[in-house]
Structures are given as C-alpha cells and as structure tokens.
C-alpha cells in the first residue's frame, strides 16, 4: 500500500511537470492553458491582494449552509421514513431514481421564484445532497444488529438512551457515507449554480473571468477550488478511516 501511494504521488507529479513543460515549450497555446507554476503564483498573489475574499466567504457560507441543512433534514427524514415501512415502500422508486433526474434544470425555476441570490443556490446544494443522506440513514438503521437492540432491552435502557448510546454509534459508519456525499454534493451544487447564473461567489468569478478572457484569474481561482475541494474530501476520508478503525477494535 505504501508503494502504491508513492507511485501515485509520482504519477501526479509527472503529469504536472509534463503540463508545465508543454506550456513553457509552446506545445500548448498560452491562450488555452497556463503553466501550473504560474497558476500557483497567480493564486498566491490574488489571495494576498484580497479582492476575492468576499466571494470566497460567500461560497463557503453557502456550501456550509447547504451541507448543514442536507445533513439534518436528510437524517430526520431518514429516521421518519424508517419508522413507517408502508411509506418507505411507496417512496423506494423515488429514492432509486432521484439522482437520474438532472435537477440543475430546476435552478431556473428557483431563480424565477426567489430571484437571483443566495437562496436558490443553497436550495440546489440541499436538493443535491439530502437524498444521499436519507439513503445512508435508512441503510445505517437497517444494518443495526438485532443483538444490540436486545442487549439494550436486557439492560432496561430507555428509548432515548437506546437511540443515543446503541443505535446511533452502530449506524455511524453508514451515516458517514452520507455525510461524505452530502459535503461533496453541496460543493458541486453551489459552485455549479454560481457558475451558471449568480451575482457573487467563486463559481461566478470563474465564469466572469472566462467571459472576459482573463485566463490568469480564471486558472488561479480554478486551482483554489480544486485544491480546497480535494483537501476537504481527503479530510473526511481520513476521519472515516479513523472511525472505522476505532469501531473495528
């Protein structure tokens, strides 16, 4: 496994170096792509100048809001549906086909209802993430071993104590899958919406820079997003691995 990570780093470094050489050597036109080192330098400069701090804050706040709503609403809905088997059976086809519907198509409708602003963007982020959380919650509650609930009964634990101390920890690994998807989807939903139509945010700034042939700003901001999202997803992945190791003890 260690060897695999080393090779992976090597592959990525080689690709970046190849890109750098091709742009510097003129094999790729500078109108299309900039060298990775230039993108990084531009990003450092932009962050130091601070022009985009407001947009970064807006995007991050929207992502966090969408994530928090998707998480709580998804969990609550999942628990409710789990308690009502008849409703769950009726909803099953909807849950199975939900992600097939390209609901970015709904974004224009939200704009008509709520106007261009942050609300429709957060709604798209929530809609994107909430069903992943519902499905993960259902999955987690399904997989709680019967013996755990019996033990709780044997120890005469109350309903709330059982839920908090037995059921929640037992379902946690499955819930984590939903949490990871919800944060990734919140990023995708918010940034894609900003990109299509918005008045602020990093996605909007990238689209704006593209429309004004400002490749330097565009690539610097792109690098920022790619780095940020990769770091956040990696952090969740590490947390999940740790959790699994602790539970597997």
């Amino acid at each position: 496994m260690k060897a695999a990570s080393r090779i992976r780093l090597g592959v990525i470094a080689a690709l970046v170096a190849l890109l750098e050489l091709m742009v510097r050597g003129g094999a790729i036109s500078r109108r299309v792509l900039l060298a990775p080192s230039e993108m990084a330098a531009d990003l450092v400069r932009l962050l130091a100048e601070g022009h985009y701090h407001g947009d970064i804050a807006t995007t991050l706040a929207d992502v966090l809001t969408a994530f928090a709503i998707a998480l709580t609403a998804g969990f609550a809905t999942g628990v409710a549906i789990h308690a009502l088997p008849r409703l769950r059976r009726a909803l099953e086809p909807l849950l199975a086909t939900y992600y097939a519907v390209p609901f970015f198509a709904f974004y224009p409708v939200f704009i008509v209802i709520l106007g261009v602003g942050r609300a429709p963007i957060v709604i798209v982020g929530v809609l994107f993430g909430v069903v992943a959380m519902i499905v993960a919650t259902l999955n987690g509650l399904d997989r709680i071993p019967r013996v755990l609930r019996k033990t709780a009964k044997l120890m005469r634990m109350g309903r709330i104590a059982t839920a908090l101390r037995i059921e929640l920890p037992a379902a946690l690994p499955y819930l984590f899958t939903g949490i990871k998807l919800a944060i990734a989807y919140a990023f995708i939903g918010v940034i894609a919406s900003e990109f299509i139509l918005a008045a602020e945010g990093i996605g909007y700034r990238i689209a704006y820079a593209f429309n004004n042939f400002d490749n330097r700003t565009m690539y610097a901001l792109m690098l920022f997003i790619v780095g940020l999202v990769t770091a956040v997803n990696a952090a969740f992945h590490v947390a999940e691995t740790r959790l699994q190791r602790r539970l597997g003890r």
Partner: protein
C-alpha cells in the same frame, strides 16, 4: 402487482403536490395540466425539435464515449492490482470535484459548440463507469479465477468467458450512474455559453420569465431520465440476482 400500485400512488402524490404548489404560487409554477399541454404544443414546432435533436445527439455521443472509454479504462486498471491501487483515490477525488469549474478549459480546448458539450458530458460519465468497472474486475470471486486456471484457459479465453461475465452486473451499475451524470454534464454544458439545445432553452426562458416553457422542458427531461433509469435498474437487478444464484 403491489409494486406497480406503489408507483401509481407515488406519481399521484407528486402530481397532487405539484398542483397544490401551483395553487399557492400560480406565477412561479405552471399547473401539471398546462405544462403537458405546453409540451404537446412545443413538440409540434420545428425550432423545438432542432433543440431536442441537438441535445439528444450530444448526449448519445457523450454516453457512447464515456461508456466505451470508462469500461476499457476501468477493466484495464482492474486487471492490474497495483494500477488499481494507484488510480482508485485519484478517480474518487475527481468524481467528487465540481467539474463545472473545469468547463472553461474544455471550452478553450474545443471551442464553443457541439464538441465541447460532448466532451463535458463524457468527462462526467467516464469516471463512475471506470470506477465501477475497475472494482468489478478486482472483486471477481477468486474461485472463478482458480477454476479458469485449473481448466487451463488461456489469457484471452479466461478474460472473455470468466472475467467479463462475472464483472458484468457491477459494470452495468456503473453505466447506470454514468448515464445520469452524462445527461447532467451535457445539460450544464448547454446552460452555460451555448446557443442551442434544451439547456439553452431553459436559460433563455429565465430572461423572458417564461415559466411554462421551463416546466415543459424539465418535465420532458425528468420523464426521459426516470424511464431510462428504471429500465437500467431493472436490467441491473436481474443481472445481480443471476450472479447471486450462480455462486
């Protein structure tokens, strides 16, 4: 029979909810009845058919590229243990990236038009298909591989008669997810910097506050996506049941 009843019940609930939302805010949402009528009227017009054909063509091409590319790429990596270990985290992190950020790069490379949309759709679909195919080949039951060796099957023969059939159910699951994401990619591509296609129609309708057109296009897309997905899901489940019975 009960499953079919459930689906009818669910559809009735969705239409009822839609009608209720329309009563609440008639300007923001057109009613189910109006939307269907509008869609029927639109499908008569020559211009709408042009947009529909454009999106359909872009989607078909993107899906063909992402399926062929994803399966070949994924199976190749899956056959090589180290290759799969190296590629897996890279593919997973590309999968959860907001790929729309990279759309300008594709536009700069391919220019405005059909090929950029196709490339963007294929970029969305190819990653999940590659991931699923790779893991499908990695997880082929060792018993099958041993049997192939005992029977002294050659490399090509064991690939064709053992590995591919054993991995097929999971590959189909990947194609189902790739299908949805490819459609999403093509539409996002059309919603930004495009002059043709259903995504362009949607964006164009915002400026004119034309809710009826918007809803009609969404209804068409949602119906198409749901039916195609249900079909793929059915194939997917049948293959999985057959594979479970074979073990």
């Amino acid at each position: 029979m009960r499953r079919a009843f459930d689906v009818v019940l669910l559809l009735a609930a969705i239409v009822a909810l839609w009608q209720a939302l329309h009563e609440l805010a008639p300007i923001a949402l057109s009613s189910p009845h109006e939307t269907v009528a509008k869609l029927a009227r639109m499908s008569q017009s020559e211009r709408f058919r042009g947009h529909l054909a454009e999106t359909g063509q872009a989607f078909a091409l993107a899906l063909a590229i992402s399926t062929a590319g994803g399966v070949v790429f994924g199976v190749t990596l899956g056959l090589n243990r180290l290759g799969a270990q190296v590629a897996d985290p890279i593919l997973v992190s590309i999968y959860s990236l907001p790929k729309v950020t990279l759309y300008p790069v594709i536009l700069l490379v391919f220019g405005l038009g059909m090929s950029a949309k196709v490339a963007f759709g294929a970029l969305h679909g190819i990653i999940p298909i590659a991931l699923f195919s790779m893991n499908a080949v990695r997880n082929v039951a060792p018993v099958y591989l041993k049997t192939a060796r005992v029977l002294r099957l050659g490399y090509g023969e064991s690939f064709r008669t053992v590995i591919v059939p054993a991995a097929l159910p999971e590959i189909v699951s990947g194609v189902r997810i790739g299908f949805s994401l490819t459609l999403l990619g093509v539409l996002i591509g059309e919603m930004f910097a495009s002059q043709r296609g259903l995504g362009f129609l949607l964006m164009n309708a915002i400026g004119r506050h034309d809710v009826e057109t918007m809803m009609a296009v969404i209804l068409l897309l949602a119906t198409f996506a749901t039916i195609a997905n249900a079909l793929l899901l059915w194939i997917d489940r049948r293959l999985h049941v057959r594979a479970a019975e074979a073990l």
